[in-house]
């Protein structure tokens, strides 16, 4: 088990570093001069621009900038924002909790809605419930988050006045964004759970169980559902990535604080140190979640546990 985890940790580290490197290269290659974007059309003399450039080290060739960035990063120095000279690390740490809260709520919405609807729709295959569940699933997948968000906002905030339209203080402000983002993940999970449930229900052992006179409820929930959860969990791991990227849009729509919003602003202003920092953290969260998902397999599926104990996988 520890062997598995340490190999996974090592590969996770590579993923995090690799994604940071990739982002650095993309940001470097993107058109647009960061200094001029910083000045935002405020006309400035070429001398002043050159001074700012050399101050930021932007006049150096690519490999020098790259080396400098990475050696600093490995020492835990994330640099300062080019827009307002704020240190990047504290800024991210300050905003991470808000994004984590949003991701957790929406992941829970995804899981609960996804599994419940998936199971119901498999059980009532081709019935009304199945139709509604599949519709909600399709809605979640096909609607862009900002659109769903605005619809929910118009309905639950402007018309009904149940929840605040924006802000990031208190659980009430988490409801609409959590639902918006959760529906995206739920869409994927509904489909996954429904399909695997249907597959499992066709397996010979289910027939055996039924033949032995086990109640339909026990067949469904104790046996079929349990076996359908593994793919749903895998899906959840992948969905976290979707949710993390979804926070960029959702946090902007609902005017929430969080690293998604910081990322959006930083990309607009080509604030490379901030973009880098946020991507670095997001990669860590993503990798950590997938690690947890992998480990949790062994709790659900004894076969996985056994093979892991033997040093396999």
């Amino acid at each position: 088990m520890t062997g598995v985890i340490s190999t996974r940790l090592l590969s996770s580290l590579l993923v995090v570093l690799g994604s940071s490197m990739l982002v650095f290269i993309i940001m470097y290659l993107l058109p647009g001069d960061p200094v001029l974007i910083m000045l935002d059309g405020n006309a400035s003399s070429p001398e002043a621009i050159a001074r700012i450039k050399s101050h930021l080290g932007l006049d150096q060739p690519f490999h020098v900038q790259f080396y400098r960035y990475f050696t600093h990063l490995l020492q835990g120095d994330f640099g300062v924002s080019r827009v307002n000279s704020d240190p990047v690390l504290p800024k991210i740490i300050e905003h991470v909790p808000a994004t984590l809260a949003l991701t957790l709520v929406s992941a829970s919405v995804s899981l609960i809605v996804g599994i419940v609807l998936g199971v119901l729709s498999a059980i009532h295959r081709n019935g009304v419930i199945d139709f509604v569940a599949r519709f909600i699933g399709l809605f979640g997948i096909s609607m862009p988050a900002f659109w769903t968000g605005i619809l929910l906002l118009l309905l639950f905030s402007v018309q009904l006045g149940w929840f605040p339209a924006m802000g990031s203080d208190g659980w009430k402000t988490l409801v609409l964004p959590g639902l918006t983002l959760g529906l995206v993940g739920a869409g994927f999970i509904v489909r996954m759970v429904r399909n695997t449930m249907l597959e499992v229900l066709g397996e010979p052992y289910i027939i055996t169980l039924r033949a032995k006179g086990l109640s339909e409820r026990a067949v469904m929930y104790r046996h079929a559902l349990r076996n359908s959860l593994i793919p749903a969990l895998t899906m959840m791991g992948l969905t976290i990535g979707e949710l993390l990227s979804g926070t960029v849009v959702t946090e902007t729509v609902f005017a929430r604080q969080g690293i998604g919003r910081i990322l959006a602003d930083a990309i607009m202003s080509k604030d490379i140190p901030v973009v880098q920092g946020v991507i670095f953290f997001t990669a860590i969260i993503y990798v950590a979640v997938n690690l947890i998902v992998d480990i949790s397999y062994s709790f659900i599926d004894p076969r996985v546990r056994r093979s892991q104990l033997k040093g396999g996988v």
Binding site: P31, G32, D33, L36, I37, L39, D40, G41, N42, A43, S44, S45, P46, A48, V83, N84, S85, K91, E94, H95, R134, F135, L138, F139, S142, F146, I150, L151, L153, L154, L155, S157, V158, Q159, L160, G161, P164, A165, M166, G167, S168, T252, V253, F254, A255, Q257, R261, I262, D265
Partner: protein, 548 residues
């Protein structure tokens, strides 16, 4: 087959569900907004006077240090924290504020201000001549912000005595008082400037009606009442402390959310309402709309007079006839914006009203002119002359603002009708393009309360590479002379005449094509009273009170 039918079903269901959602939204509108108000009223229950105003901003301030910021949105926030030396009246004259009186030297190269006594900054530091000098020094040390350019040919300042300060200029500069009245030259506490250093932009301290409390990034800026305030500007009804206890700016970038939070009562006011919402909100009995036209230059298309074939005024004239500005403004802004006729906005000193209705779109004239100039339509409908196609490069540097990218697209369509091929470049990153002059049409607008704004746009030495914004590359000694007279002339009547001449020149020679005037639009709850706007079109909160 089955699958395809199913997916068709899905689509149908999806569309109808959306419809139902929207329809229920529409019909229940009245009752819902009532609950919204009721809720808001319950929350703020007994706050008839001395309540809290929450105001949703579309973008986040970059800095709250007036000396280094350049953004309108920052100004909206820090105007409440800082007072200025003088106050600008709508008729172009100035009244005392933190300065009790002032005299101008004979040559117009120095101003001596007598300062108001017994004024204190929020941190207890007394306001005096040394404080004013410290502010000017601070601005000179960091020439990045608007404040620096508003001071123009500033040379030095001398403390004559505790409450007298003399400001020296390198040459006469008539827009100085206008600059001094702006929030960008609001006066900071010298103690705070020193204490916070580079972090001052996050800890502003002024003498204004509100004190800074906190700024959470991407979320809100909170200000509270300065109970000791007793030096309100002459433009305000209030002279003492603000009637509001608290003033909170929420940063809400998404339009629908911003408007939605006013409708639901979560905030009491929101800025920059888009045209389609203006129409809808007009019918909402709980909400009032206020518009204030932003002053400076109208959003205009600047024709680059340097490039072939645009160096020929006749070609520019033809293009101007081919663009139907009226239909652009009506189509895009649904009657909520006015079209512009001059380079300057109507609220600015020297605006030439005689230009109104002077040039109208005329497709026939456009075609006729181009034919006469030898640009003949080819097989593809595009005009050619000596084997060269009539192609214009149109650069739009603020794509996301006020539907400016739609303007570009419509102009492209309209000019295509006239046989002109328009290549659009819609991007924020225009430096290379502008420096190399690779465009014939450039969209731009600027905010300022003085007509001297034209100097940076049309004086021959104000080319982009030298820090200017002469997008049209105007290079005419006559205009240079007028622009210089404009900022040096102290007689307001003569100044007006000078700027009228310049505006007429720009239209007569088809150098600019003014498109629209930008109305800064605020939607606020009925309970908000006394919201005013200054000459730049920025909101002022000092007179605001909240009623039931």
């Amino acid at each position: 087959m089955n699958k395809r039918r199913a997916s068709k079903w899905m689509k149908f269901a999806l569309v109808s569900a959306t419809f139902v959602l929207v329809l229920t939204g529409c019909t229940s509108s009245k009752g819902a907004s009532e609950t919204g108000t009721a809720k808001a009223a319950a929350e703020g229950s007994s706050t008839v006077e001395g309540g809290e105003l929450t105001y949703a901003l579309a973008t986040s301030p970059d800095s709250l240090d007036p000396g280094t910021s350049g953004y309108a949105v920052s100004h909206r926030v820090f105007r409440n924290i800082f007072d200025s030396l003088v106050s600008a009246l709508p008729d172009g004259t100035f009244k005392p504020w933190l300065a009790e009186s002032w005299t101008k030297s004979d040559g117009g190269q120095s101003y001596t201000f007598k300062l108001r006594q017994n004024v204190k900054f929020h941190d207890g530091t007394p306001f005096n001549a040394a404080a004013v000098k410290a502010n000017f020094d601070h601005i000179q040390a960091d020439p990045g912000g608007q404040a620096y350019s508003l001071l123009g040919p500033y040379a030095s300042s001398e403390v004559i005595d505790d409450y007298t300060i003399k400001l020296n200029l390198k040459e006469p500069f008539e827009p100085l008082l206008s600059g001094l009245s702006s929030g960008f030259l609001g006066i900071s506490s010298p103690k705070a400037l020193q204490q916070y250093g580079e972090q001052y932009s996050k800890h502003p301290v002024g003498t204004g009606p509100f004190k800074f409390v906190k700024w959470s990034e991407n979320d809100e800026v909170v200000l509270e009442k300065n109970a000791d305030y007793a030096w309100g500007p002459p433009t305000a009804d209030n002279k003492g402390a603000s009637r509001l206890n608290k003033l909170t700016f929420k940063i809400v970038p998404e339009e629908a959310t911003r408007i939605g939070s006013v409708q639901s009562g979560q905030v009491l006011a929101a800025e920059t309402v888009p045209p389609q919402n203006i129409l809808a909100l007009k019918n909402d009995p709980n909400i009032k709309l206020e518009q204030s036209v932003t002053n400076g230059t109208a959003f205009s298309l600047y024709f680059n007079t340097k490039n072939e074939p645009f160096n020929d005024p006749k070609v520019r004239e033809a293009i101007r006839y081919a663009v139907d500005v009226d239909s652009i403004v009506k189509t895009l802004y649904l009657g909520t914006y006015q079209r512009a006729w001059s380079s300057l906005t109507p609220g600015i000193l020297g605006y030439d009203a005689s230009l109104e209705n002077s040039v109208k779109a005329d497709a026939q004239k456009a075609n006729q002119l181009l034919d006469e100039l030898g640009w003949i339509k080819g097989a593809d409908g595009i005009r050619e002359k000596q084997g060269k196609k009539l192609t214009l490069r149109y650069v739009e540097p603020s794509p996301n603002r006020e539907k400016r990218n739609d303007i570009a697209a419509i102009v492209q369509q309209q000019l295509k009708q006239a046989g002109v091929d328009v290549k659009l470049t819609i991007t924020k990153d225009t430096t290379t393009l502008v420096t190399k002059g690779e465009y014939e049409i450039f969209g731009n607008s600027q905010v300022k309360a003085d007509p001297d704004i034209l100097r940076n746009l049309f004086r021959s030495d104000r080319v982009y590479a030298k820090g200017g914004t002469n997008y049209s590359n105007v290079n005419d000694p006559e205009i240079d002379k007028l622009l210089d007279q404009g900022y040096q002339e102290s007689d307001p009547q003569l100044r007006k005449e000078i700027y009228a001449q310049i505006q007429q020149y720009l239209i007569k020679n088809a150098i600019v094509l003014p498109i629209y005037l930008f109305p800064y639009t605020v939607a606020h709850s009925n309970k908000v009273e006394g919201l005013k706007f200054d000459l730049l079109g920025y909101p002022q909160f000092y007179d605001v009170s909240i009623h039931k």
